[in-house]
Symmetry: C2
Subunit: 383 residues, 2 copies
């Protein structure tokens, strides 16, 4: 029977979990979540286990109540998931993949092993090794990433070699140092792969980052790239997931460098910020696609219906705590503009509070609406 | 603040209520519902009052817990709502409008009073009056409708004058008899009007009825009509709602007769079957639009993104009780095909169990996909 009457357990109840649940409601899918108190998804989950994402007992309790488990964040107790998988619980994507992805060093080794194009790197265990390892990389700047625990721009620093030589070392845990890709265009391809091995890629998107926040601010779909680059990006992204033998939804973030080469940056084994626009702009959203995969249903068509942009609503610099959005009365007047709010009671600077998707006949029309959105969107402390 | 943190109370928890709630989740709107046990919306409402839609006490309890009330069905306790409105509770649409609409005789008198084109009619109080009143109407057939209580094709009969003269009278309550519009094309325009008096119409749709079920089976948007007829249909629909001073979402069902005249059939003061496709096919759905109106937000743009069709999934003739849908694995493979299931545990012949929206570049592409959908969709008793 399709859709099957099954219960999905989600480790994490943030905005990605919330939107996964929203996507499942036309099919009456049931969801359990595990999350700290006051999660964005709390009001719409059918059952809510309050607890730490590291708590093996809570994860096992979630598994017991669910037909299949997934996760919407990487920083969770992988050992507990490996144990559950060994006992026969269905976990998508497999925690074996999560073990690789949640360690940015292992990710880079995986790319190297499978000849997946990616920028040269060095692994560093101790602070003392930094200058020597860094010297093996070209350029004046190096991207330094904590191997584990980074999220939403935290745990990633762009450093100057000169500063490192003077002892200004930002992290003291195990780190991966990568050659910095100068003036790169950042691309992302979301890949869906099911248990039968069927694969579909979503249209390539182009990301524009806010240098202050170090996380994606605006993205455009389709990306403004040649057909050849587009094909290359999709092919590389698909090959990553096939080499991982991955089942689920994966975001493959890539750099297009000035020589026209596509280099993989990182993989996320879950729905991703660079796929929010798919809710309205594609026939099948990344969230519906994951539901299909979790329930053993056929993959949906991923084509783009119209040109689109997605803008994160980030917490404003000067507001913390309870807040109000302002200007939405102007934004909601625009045709083809969709506002998603993440049910967060409090804001802080740069926190992801929601997103806005903009659709139009072409990117020119989309950009015009985007300007109006940016002009009006505001945030203030709650009165 | 937009969207405001308000709670909407819905009288009725059927599929229309369910889809209204689904539309509000990206904005974290809270919903209370009043419905008999096992309502389609039960799993996704924030609070669920179990009771009859006629129970004044339950309706008052719902009002007490909600900032604004709406309803997704006409057959409810209007007196209780009139009382609540007089006490200052916000009810959208006003129960004064509901009092007119839920009596098909008053509806016809309203059309006549405001020169809204509609087929000639007679009101009948007693069975004895039928032959005489019927003689005032042209044609061999008459559409006979119970003034109150009809729904989804029940309480409506197409009768032959000859049968009536022989005493075969189908209803014995107060009835409206209408001249039957021969070979009519059935159109529907959904009208949104907010408290500020702003009005927007959704694109005109064309309905194809299943003669067995007497309720809409398939609709197409855009309707295959001339620009002039389209403009006329929208103008008449808008004028109906303005004359009613209606605030809310209203479906205006119309006949296009063989002379090219547009005649109003009936108005529904709620989201309507003929607007399900707007969830995916329009920038703003009828459900989001009603949420906007209920919360005092600006009306959204109603333009059609692509050509579309909507097909009701009706309970199959030979299946009753617990059931399974079959063939969905083929249907879900089609691009631009969206399946909505109404969370009903049991089927019966012709019961509305869900709907399927189909989008495409043009109606030709949509029709091709529709054929594939019809070919595969099946239903069987649960194994």
């Amino acid at each position: 029977m399709l859709p099957p009457k099954k219960t999905i357990g989600i480790i994490g109840g943030g905005q990605l979990g919330k939107m996964l649940i929203e996507a499942g409601q036309p099919w009456n899918i049931r969801y359990n979540i595990l999350e700290q108190d006051n999660a964005p998804a709390k009001d719409i989950a059918n059952h809510y286990i309050v607890g730490s994402l590291q708590d093996a007992d809570k994860i096992k309790a979630l598994a017991k109540l669910s037909d299949v488990l997934t996760y919407e964040i990487e920083h969770i107790n992988t050992e507990a998931l490996l144990e559950l998988e060994a006992q026969g619980h269905k976990i998508i994507p497999s925690p074996k993949i999560l073990s690789i992805i949640q360690d940015k060093g292992l990710q880079k080794l995986f790319f190297k092993q499978h000849n997946i194009p990616s920028s040269p790197f060095e692994l560093v265990e101790h602070v003392s090794e930094w200058p020597q390892k860094m010297a093996n990389l070209k350029g004046q700047k190096v991207a330094a990433k904590l191997r584990k625990g980074g999220y939403d721009g935290k745990g990633v620093e762009l450093v100057n070699k000169a500063d490192i030589e003077q002892g200004q070392i930002p992290f003291d845990g195990p780190v991966v140092l990568e050659e910095f890709v100068e003036n790169a265009i950042e691309l992302s391809v979301i890949v869906a792969r099911n248990e039968a091995g069927d694969v579909k890629t979503f249209p390539t998107v182009e990301m524009a980052f806010d240098p202050k926040a170090n996380l994606v601010d605006i993205l455009f779909a389709p990306a403004n790239i040649s057909q050849a680059i587009d094909t290359q990006a999709k092919s590389i992204a698909q090959s990553c997931i096939e080499h991982l033998n991955g089942v689920g939804i994966f975001a493959v973030e890539m750099f297009l460098n000035q020589s026209g080469e596509v280099l993989v940056n990182e993989i996320a084994p879950r729905p991703h910020n660079s796929g929010h626009h798919t809710i309205e702009a594609c026939y099948t959203s990344q969230y519906e696609q994951l539901n299909r995969i979790l329930l053993g249903m056929p993959l949906g068509d991923t084509q783009l219906i119209q040109a689109s942009a997605m803008m994160n609503i980030l917490g404003f610099e000067n507001v913390s705590g309870p807040y109000e959005m302002t200007g939405l009365e102007h934004i909601l007047n625009l045709p083809g503009v969709f506002v998603h709010l993440y049910n967060k009671a409090e804001t802080k600077p740069m926190r992801k509070m929601g997103h806005i998707t903009i659709m139009g006949q072409d990117l020119h029309e989309v950009m015009q609406k985007l300007q109006t959105v940016k002009q009006h969107l505001g945030m203030k402390a709650a009165s």
